[in-house]
Every structure is written in C-alpha cells, then in structure tokens.
C-alpha cells in the first residue's frame, strides 16, 4: 500500500506544479482581452465554418491495431515476469501467443490497413 501512497502523492504533485505555473501566468500576466485576440488563429484568415472534422479512416485503423497490440501486451507482461519459473512448453505457449499477434499484424499489413495514403 505504501507504494500507492507515494505514487498518489507524486501524481498529485505533478498535477499541482503545472497548475501552479498556469495560475502564476494568469495572475502575473496582463489581461486585456478583445474579440480579435480571442478569435481562432488561422494566419490572419477568418475561419470558415465549424471546426469541421472528418478524418481519414486511417487514424481509426492505426488506433485499432494499437488497441489490439496493447491488450495482448498486457497478457505478455505477467508471462515475462514469470519467465524464469516457466518450463519450456510454457515459453512455447508465450511464443505461440506472440505468433498470433504477428499474424494480426501481417493481416493488417496485407489488407493495407497500415498504409498511410
């Protein structure tokens, strides 16, 4: 439990420091707002329409492959920690797991999901 207390304190502090900076900037800096200054910055042009967001499907696919990898890696970490206590066939099971992961990567690659354009 002690580690978590320390980590909680540390996370609290690491949120606190930047907040302090922001608050300092807020109070020490001048505040003279005007509509032009607060407008959306676009190299002097006025923005057209809403911040129209219609992204390429590509971004979703990258995030998707990432999600699958991330979850599988969560499985692999306990395996790696227990590694020295495992018999050879258990290591083989881990390798099979990695092979399935590689299969996922190869599928996404072949399908063209990893191409940018």
């Amino acid at each position: 439990m002690n580690t978590w207390i320390y980590i909680a304190i540390f996370i609290f502090l690491s949120l606190f420091f930047p907040t302090l900076l922001a608050v300092a900037g807020w109070f020490l800096g001048p505040r003279r707002p005007n509509p032009i200054k607060e407008d959306t910055y676009e190299c002097g042009l006025e923005t057209v329409g809403e911040t129209w967001v219609q992204f390429k499907i590509q971004y979703y696919l990258f995030a998707l492959v990432f999600l699958v990898f991330d979850v599988e890696l969560v499985f692999l970490y306990p395996w790696a920690v227990a590694y020295h206590k495992l018999p050879l066939y258990a290591v083989g099971e881990g390798v099979l797991f990695i092979a399935l992961l590689a299969a996922a990567l190869i599928y996404a690659w072949r399908k063209g999901a990893l191409e940018w354009s």
């Binding site: 998707l64 699958v68 979850v71 969560v74 499985f75």
Partner: protein, 102 residues
C-alpha cells in the same frame, strides 16, 4: 478496513448507470460507453471478490485480465460497425438506423 459490500455497492451503482446509458442514449458510441461502464463494474466486482475470498490464488486476476481482452475486442468491432454504419447512413444515432425494424 473497507467492508466487501462497499465495493459491491459501488459496482452495482456503476452497473446501473451503465445500464441507464445503454438504454437511454441515442448515439451509438455513447451506448458503447455505457457497456464499458458495465464491464468495469463487473471487473470491480470480480477483483473485490478475489481480494476478500481468494487473494492467494491468481484466479480472480486472470479472470479480470480476460475481461480486458473481451472489452477490447467488443470496442474494436463495435466501433468498426459504427463507422460502417456511419458511412452508409451518415449518422450514428441508434434510433435513426431502422432498416431492419419493420
């Protein structure tokens, strides 16, 4: 020490909120968020029982990790479905997608 039923209460409340989200939301992504809440409630429940009943075995942990995998698979396929639906109907509002309704 925290009694076990506190955890159960919180997870029940979380599950009920997730259920409410699933039943009441229009946007399909929001419905999926409700499902995520329910899955998390289940995981809190699993780990609470693991901690109080069998902390020396890894069973509860293994269960929870597998719930992670299921949640990830569900999100991946669910969101892909929404994207496919969005492409077809230009909307992800669950009540507007009613081709199969009648």
């Amino acid at each position: 020490m925290i009694p076990l039923n506190w955890y159960l209460l919180v997870s029940a409340a979380l599950f009920a909120l997730g259920l409410f989200g699933v039943l009441s939301r229009k946007n399909a992504v929001a419905i999926l968020m409700g499902v995520e809440l329910m899955l998390n409630a289940v995981n809190i429940n699993l780990l609470a029982f693991w901690r109080y009943r069998a902390p020396t075995e890894a069973t509860g942990l293994a269960f929870a990790v597998i719930v992670f995998a299921v949640a990830a698979a569900e999100v991946a396929v669910g969101l892909a479905l929404f994207i496919a639906v969005y492409r077809r109907f230009k909307s992800v509002a669950a009540d507007e997608i009613n081709l199969l309704k009648w």
